[in-house]
Amino acid sequence: MTTIFAILIDGAIYASWLFLVAAGLTIIYGVMRVLNMAHGSFYAIGAYSAASLVSWYFSGNQGNAYWSLLMLPACALVAGAIIGIAIEQGLLRFLQGRDEILMVIVTYALLLILEDATKLIWGVNPYFAYQPYRLLGRTSIGEGLRFANYDLALIAVAILIGLVAWFILNRTNKGRLLRAVIHDREIAIAMGVNVNAMFAATFTIGAVLGALAGALTAPAISVTPGIGVEVIVLAFAVVVVGGLGSIGGAAVGAILVGLSRSFAVHIAPEIELFVIYGVMFLVLAIRPQGLFGQALARRI
């Protein structure tokens, strides 16, 4: 019984982390048709800036420790917005409408550059922001099984972000315009939608989401070079399972991958690595466009 609970809770925690990482990636692809490899760097920059700020806060004579919890999203907002706007306005704006493959290469180059840039700024030694992780205490479930409340709170954050994204896309005017761009960019332009502004906003939101995932993860990990590259592969797996460009797809993909991995860890740990990509293989074999992706006829 304890094992079943453990599988479900671990799966939910991991799924919410996956969703946080994948949401920004899928939004950017959905709107801009850019498979953004640099998303991993946004994650790393979010983690580094949060770890720097939090460890600075705790190294001084700080006031209330709970402020550190607010610092995490604040860091992500500032760092993600700066880097997102800079990259969109400074580079991607000039490459609009280029081939998707070319954009993968461009953003891969960005990933490499940003990896080195983070190393230039923060060096190679690990950064820690562990205080917020312990701040919320832990909850006992069954015998010997305890969860950090911080991880449980992550589930709520992921649900909140998913709901907000759904609300904006489906219930607001801006969201409707965005969906128009997603469905057919040319018609949207013809109808007078300011696609450039849409792209800039989307990319910035995507970057902020990437940085947010990093900032919220920072307290539980050692922030070291290379963390960005690690998450990008996982994020791709989740997004591809759900269908590129679909928020709902990313959520379902995250839950599928999260639960199957947690199941494997508890029941057959030796296949843990295989399971994530096994799920991806199965889904793609049955639905090559992903669970929620739309099969598109190629335009000639």
Partner: protein
């Protein structure tokens, strides 16, 4: 049809010319600098990627410090003579990142184009296994300073140019098993969490075999195999908690190790259980109060926090702290050890003041006994090409007043106690009940 390279934009043209010039300049210097009367050492260690922070950069810093000190004659006896055999040392530092194929290529470059006189390097076991045959083929003294695979001298059975001045991972894990059996005599169950690649798999196989060899009643209750660099261990920590072992063994290193301890600590995984971290010494400075007191740490030999008191260590440790504002961890010690071994070897056989040849260096290093900040190193295994040294394990203790971690209850196991004899694999030796082991 005529084709012509045409660069129309002035900025592009300028940068293309600049790049071409820079390339020509780089190639030019490498060709000229070959015979400048200096002893050239190629140093290869991780400068990027996950292994750079915990291993690569401390090792590179160690190399930088000791080469500068040797060149200015500041290292205490028996290394007070300047440089190597009186010749100034020139160091070329390369990044180990990029995988075994790239490293083999760069190794050839170092020897054939950069004309180095010796190569010291390699942290990754995969890189070591790829470089080993190339080192023998190219005939330049090559010293592995860190990699832990026990297969190096299985790949190269009759080494001439290849040496390893550090211990392999088998030794670590046999010593860890002995430490656990002695310090936790009531242990009944053990669990494992390893990074799922050669290092993790070999470490666990050796540890559990050795532990069950010493205490056959110990049962394995859980084995976790997360990916290298995964960073999130929620489900693994739950599985370990549910299986409720007395001891958890892990060969995790770097950020993965720190993340596991952070997440496990916050969830009470180590409240009533002991973790054994065979590469834990590199984390002492960052662990703080996140790692419970009593966690068993290893440092892959008598390095870092386990280093003995001697004149060389009394010089090295404070010099490193002063220059890099951090304590030297085991990779720094191991790098310094390799460079000092090379110096001792060259000066043993080459005529004073002359450039030591490759043959003189390998002849000198084979079977050599030399001093290092970690104590005496004896090159007595693998036909005089593999170092024998003691291994230490101890327990982590955090001092809240100073805010620093340290190791206590240190036990040191002599090389003869934990190293299989030449010609016998570790598994055979352990299964046979450690015949010939000389333990105190």
């Amino acid at each position: 049809m005529q084709s012509k390279l045409c660069i129309s934009h002035p900025v592009l043209r300028v940068s293309a010319i600049a790049t071409a010039l820079a390339l020509t300049a780089a190639l030019g210097t490498s060709a000229i600098a070959a015979d400048n009367g200096k002893y050239r050492i190629g140093v290869v260690t991780f400068l990027s990627g996950a292994a750079a922070g915990p291993f690569g950069v401390p090792a590179a810093n160690g190399a930088k410090l000791v080469v500068e000190a040797l060149n200015s004659g500041k290292v205490p006896a028996p290394y007070s003579k300047k440089g190597i055999n009186g010749l100034e040392i020139e160091m070329i530092v390369l990044d180990e990142a990029g995988g075994a194929t790239k490293q083999t290529e760069e190794f050839r470059n170092l020897i054939q184009r950069q004309k180095v006189d010796a190569v010291i390097g390699y942290i990754s076991s995969g890189d070591c296994l790829a470089i080993a045959p190339a080192a023998e083929e190219l005939g330049v003294p090559t010293i592995f300073f860190d990699c832990g695979t026990s297969k190096v001298f299985e790949v190269v059975k009759n080494p001439k140019f290849l040496f390893r001045t550090g211990l392999d991972a088998v030794v670590d894990n046999i010593a860890a098993a002995r430490y656990v059996a002695e310090s936790r005599p009531n242990i009944k169950t053990v669990a494992s969490i390893q990074q799922n690649y050669a290092w993790g798999q070999e470490s666990w196989a050796d540890f559990v075999l050795a532990l069950q060899g010493i205490k056959p009643e110990v049962k394995v209750v859980s084995e976790q195999w997360p990916k290298l660099g995964q960073g999130q261990y929620g489900a693994e920590i739950s599985a370990l908690s549910v299986s409720n072992p007395d001891v958890i063994h892990s060969s995790f290193w770097g950020g993965d190790m720190e993340a596991l301890m952070l997440q496990g600590g916050a969830r009470g995984l180590f409240d009533k259980r002991t973790a054994v971290l065979t590469a834990g010494e590199t984390g002492i400075e960052s662990f703080k109060d996140n790692v419970p007191n009593g966690t068993i740490l290893g440092g892959r030999g008598p390095f870092g926090a386990f280093a003995p008191k001697n004149a060389l260590n009394d010089w090295f440790r404070p010099a490193f702290q002063a220059q890099f504002k951090a304590d030297p961890t085991y990779p720094a010690y191991k790098m310094v050890q390799a460079i000092l071994g090379l110096k001792a070897a060259a000066e043993k056989t080459a005529k004073a003041g002359t450039m030591p040849t490759s043959d003189q260096v390998v002849q000198g290093l084979s079977g050599l006994s030399f001093e290092a900040p970690s104590g005496t190193v004896i090159m007595s295994r693998a036909k005089g090409h593999q170092a024998v040294q003691s291994v230490s394990f101890g327990e982590y203790q955090f001092d809240a007043k100073t805010g620093k971690g340290m190791v206590t209850k240190v036990k040191t196991y002599a090389g003869e106690c934990v190293m299989p004899p030449d010609g016998r694999t570790s598994a055979e030796w352990i299964k046979a009940g450690f015949p010939g082991a000389k333990c105190k």
